[in-house]
Amino acid sequence: MSGGKGGSKTTATEIPDWIKEPAVRNLARAEDVQKIGYMPYYGADVAGFTPMEQQAMQNQVSQAQAFGLAPQGMQAMAGMPQAQQYDLGGGQMVSGYTAGGLYDQALAETQSRQPEFAQRYNELYFPSEENA
């Protein structure tokens, strides 16, 4: 900008509409996207022991029992959580474990121990009416 004796000169850059409009829409969409919170994976995380592995483990127990190193009646899978069955489709099943339950417990525990932080966190994605 220049001018003399009190006058002025202004230079402006105008973005074309065919660029500006998608950019504006992208910003609006980004605002929408960032409002989506964390969506954890609740599917199967860890594959369960196969029947072959379970039999091998039971064989180990049997061998230990034969040599007097394990009590009779001991089960190899005792104390292990029961694996869930997940549908692969087509009637095919696969056994495994999910950490979703443990995650939910940890989240609930955090919300219980740090409710203010949890509320602020949640309001980033689920703003209350007065804050909206």
Binding site: S8, K9, T13, G43, A47, M52, N59, Q63
Partner: protein, 277 residues
């Protein structure tokens, strides 16, 4: 009773052939796995049996052998039970011959008119002395021969008994060594079975791990695809940002000028000059 003893022998030999031609296939040599066989229990049982067998071998005492002595042997049992009869028979023969000699001597003395005389008496005494001497010598010789024969037979029995005792001692030692060797073999088989069981179990575990790895891979892929699903909206934003970033900036630049005081004064003077003309 032999008919009753046979079954117990058969029970003790557990399927062993009881005689006759040997069958082509032996029932106690299984070529197929025994149903219910467990290598773990077999290995543990074999180890215990091997230990028991070795322990028994450690406490084995060989049969003691003691040399027999002739001095402690009752030789009466080796005497010829007919020695007395032989001596008696020989004595009767001697006496019978002596009687014949006496009869001849009496006949000669009677023909010479000297029967019952002193010379007849002396001659009879000589015959009697010879008979007694013959009887004594024959009896002593027969009894001596019988004693020597009894000693020889007793020594043969002592030697035979010693040989039998030594053979039994060797058989006992051989049996103990065989049982000790069998115990060692049982221990080796137990160890072999233990290793086999371990190897098979490791193979099973390895196969099972491979199967589990395949399933784990499916789960990992599902997890990965879920992450891609949740990240897709943000990824779409990036697409547009990237597109905008590489688009040429076709900006339109416009310049506008704002007049100042000098411009207005110049404009006024110009206007006045025009009016004067």
């Amino acid at each position: 009773m032999a008919g009753q003893a046979a079954p117990s022998v058969m029970r003790g030999m557990a399927g062993a052939p009881t005689g006759g031609p040997v069958p082509a296939t032996r029932p106690n040599v299984p070529l197929a796995p025994t149903p219910g066989f467990n290598v773990n229990t077999a290995s543990a049982g074999g180890l215990q049996q091997a230990m028991a067998g070795t322990q028994a071998g450690m406490g084995y005492n060989p049969q003691q052998v003691q040399a027999g002595q002739l001095a402690n042997t009752n030789l009466q049992q080796y005497q010829d039970p007919y020695t007395k009869q032989v001596i008696d028979a020989q004595a009767q023969d001697v006496l019978r011959n002596a009687q014949l000699g006496l009869n001849q001597l009496g006949g000669q003395a009677q023909r010479a008119g000297a029967f019952g005389g002193s010379r007849h008496g002396v001659a009879m005494g000589e015959i009697g002395r010879g008979v007694a001497q013959t009887l004594g010598q024959q009896s002593a010789q027969l009894r001596s021969q019988g004693f020597q024969n009894a000693q020889q037979m007793a020594q043969q029995d002592i030697a035979s008994r010693m040989q039998a005792d030594l053979a039994n001692q060797q058989a006992g030692l051989g049996g103990a060594q065989m049982r000790l060797g069998a115990s060692a073999q049982m221990g080796d088989l137990a160890n072999l079975g233990f290793g086999m069981g371990q190897q098979i179990n490791q193979n099973m575990m390895q196969q099972g791990a491979q199967q589990r790895a395949l399933q784990q891979q499916l789960m990992d892929i599902a997890n990965q695809r879920f992450g891609q699903y949740t990240a897709t909206p943000a990824q779409g934003l990036n697409y547009l940002n990237q597109a905008l970033g590489v688009t040429p900036q076709a900006n339109t630049q416009t310049t506008s000028r704002q007049p100042g005081l000098f411009d207005y004064l110049t404009l006024g003077a110009t206007a006045l000059g025009g009016m004067r003309r």
